[in-house]
């Protein structure tokens, strides 16, 4: 007996399958094709010769340098902040929770404008700093400040949620065994949340590396000082130096893809130590 696709039962199933394939393929292609197109627009020779261009190397090193510094500051300040915030109840905690997520929804250009209004030479705080000869806007420090402002919520959210979800009995047991709060944090809390924290840090690094709007508003676009990779891509296109823009774009895609793979790998390795019951 032959199965006819025109039989109502098989006909519907075939249509559903085709519909699902078309949906998945179209969404995936829409997201992937533009990125793939970057690689088809250049040749290996052109890519590697552009890599040696001073504009590319300068933007690459500045981006890596500022992103590493930003990440270091976010980890050093953000980890204790997230721990203290998640372990304590205080008035206005929910407001703080909402405020630290604000940079995630704020347009980066607005973030840059806000930083400029506060720390610029005539800004609310900037004018006082200026009296002591301290200028923040349009310096490498401004690049770092913009990156921290825009990227830190990725780490803070992750750390906060990890500390909140960690089963409190591990820390309580460690304390009854004679460990001080700092020892408990270093030997129990941090190791049990490490993979999650690292994946939060990697996301933060990725976001800092790709920061554009806040940087151009608050730090400007000075080659070697504030011109990071995304800004150099923009300048490449503006100044009719398409190859430079293309090379930097491909570099950013490679770095972003590596970051994504790293996050997925770390997430799959993550051992769950979440609380199994309410405290």
């Amino acid at each position: 007996m032959t199965v006819s696709f025109l039989e109502p039962k098989n006909y519907r199933r075939t249509l559903t399958t085709i519909g699902a394939i078309v949906l998945i393929a179209s969404v995936t292609l829409y997201l992937v094709l533009p990125v793939v197109a970057l690689f088809f627009r250049t040749t290996p020779e052109l890519f590697f010769s552009s890599l040696c261009d001073p504009a590319v190397t300068s933007a690459l090193w500045l981006s890596l340098f500022t992103s590493v510094i930003s990440l270091g500051i976010v980890i050093l300040v953000g980890t204790p902040f997230a721990y203290v915030h998640s372990r304590n109840t205080y008035p206005g905690k929910m407001i703080v929770d909402t405020l630290i997520d604000l940079p995630l929804v704020l347009p980066p250009a607005v973030a840059g404008m806000a930083l400029l209004v506060l720390y610029g030479r005539v800004g609310l705080i900037g004018k006082y700093l200026n009296m002591f000869g301290i200028t923040l806007a349009f310096t490498t420090v401004a690049v770092i400040m913009a990156q921290i402002f825009v990227a830190s919520p990725f780490y803070l959210r992750q750390a906060k949620s990890l500390f909140e979800q960690l089963d409190p009995s591990y820390e309580q047991t460690a304390r009854t065994l004679g460990a001080s709060s700092i020892r408990v944090f270093a030997t129990i809390t941090l190791p049990l949340t490490a993979s999650g924290l690292v994946s939060g840090a990697v996301m933060t690094f990725g976001r800092a590396l790709g920061e554009f709007g806040a940087t151009i508003m608050f730090a400007g676009n000075l080659p070697g000082v504030t011109q990071t990779m995304p800004l150099a891509v923009y300048v490449g296109l503006e100044g009719n130096n398409f190859n430079i823009g293309l090379t930097i774009s491909i570099l950013l895609v490679i770095i972003s893809f590596t970051i994504m793979i790293a996050v997925r790998f770390l997430a799959s390795r993550e051992v769950r130590h979440a609380r199994s019951r309410s405290p």
């Binding site: 009995s169 460690a174 009854t176 065994l177 020892r183």
Partner: protein, 231 residues
């Protein structure tokens, strides 16, 4: 000797009770879920602070509300196996057992000696180098008990310690607990749901209902199950 007079306002009721445990005595706390048994252990260990009252252990005041005395958790030297407490999953079995001794900055050789002794006693020596996260529930529970015993506490508290163990391991552990408590002459408080635990190793037993003790006797005088609502 442990003497405690505890008062704490909980969400649904007020916990008000006095308990006493003599050296080498195993006091069993029984009661239905939410009666306040684990809260009593948390108050004694310092993980929770009583609203009022006092806690004295071997003549030393650990808590006295009238004088504002409250010894921090880490300085009480109480071995406490929390309910559902498992071994630290990122550490090996031997590192788990050594944890409390390292926190006390004991000498490395002495730690190694003690770790060996306690792993042998609870039959986990063959698991020494395995990460605790890879152990079965019963093995983790034995690690947690060895870890609490290894600090040579002045008071031992166990919250439902036998739930994850099979019958043989439970029998062996009960025998070892009995010996340990008698040899070191320390008081021990055991929270359990199971009457058999109370009869097997309890020297004194009491039932807690909504934060107060409503029956206290020697385990051999356990009431008729029908007489106590939760049994």
């Amino acid at each position: 000797m442990l003497e405690a007079d505890l008062h704490k306002q909980l969400r649904d009721f007020s916990l008000d009770l006095k308990i006493q445990a003599k050296p080498a005595e195993i006091l069993v706390l029984m009661g239905e879920n939410g009666a306040g048994k684990s809260t009593v252990l948390n108050l004694l260990s310092g993980l929770l602070t009583p609203d009022a009252g006092s806690i004295r252990l071997n003549g030393k005041s650990l808590f006295k509300s009238t004088f504002g005395v409250s010894v921090p958790v880490e300085a009480r030297n109480i071995g406490y196996v929390l309910q559902n407490s498992t071994a630290f999953p990122h550490l090996s079995v031997s590192e788990n057992v050594a944890y409390g001794m390292k926190a006390r900055h004991m000498h490395k050789d002495r730690i190694a000696e003690h770790v060996d002794k306690w792993m042998e006693l609870v039959d986990i020596r063959n698991l020494a180098d395995i990460k605790a996260g890879k152990l079965s529930g019963g093995q983790k529970q034995r690690v947690a008990i060895a870890r609490a015993l290894a600090i040579e506490p002045d008071l031992l508290m166990l919250d439902e310690p036998f739930t994850a163990l099979d019958a043989d391991s439970t029998t062996t552990l009960k025998r070892h607990l009995r010996t340990y408590v008698r040899d070191l002459q320390i008081p021990c408080i055991l929270v359990t749901h199971r009457l058999t635990d109370t009869q097997d190793i309890g020297d004194a037993a009491c039932t807690i209902t909504r934060g107060t003790i409503n029956w206290q006797e020697h385990p051999c005088n356990l009431p008729d199950p029908g007489a106590v609502k939760w049994i």
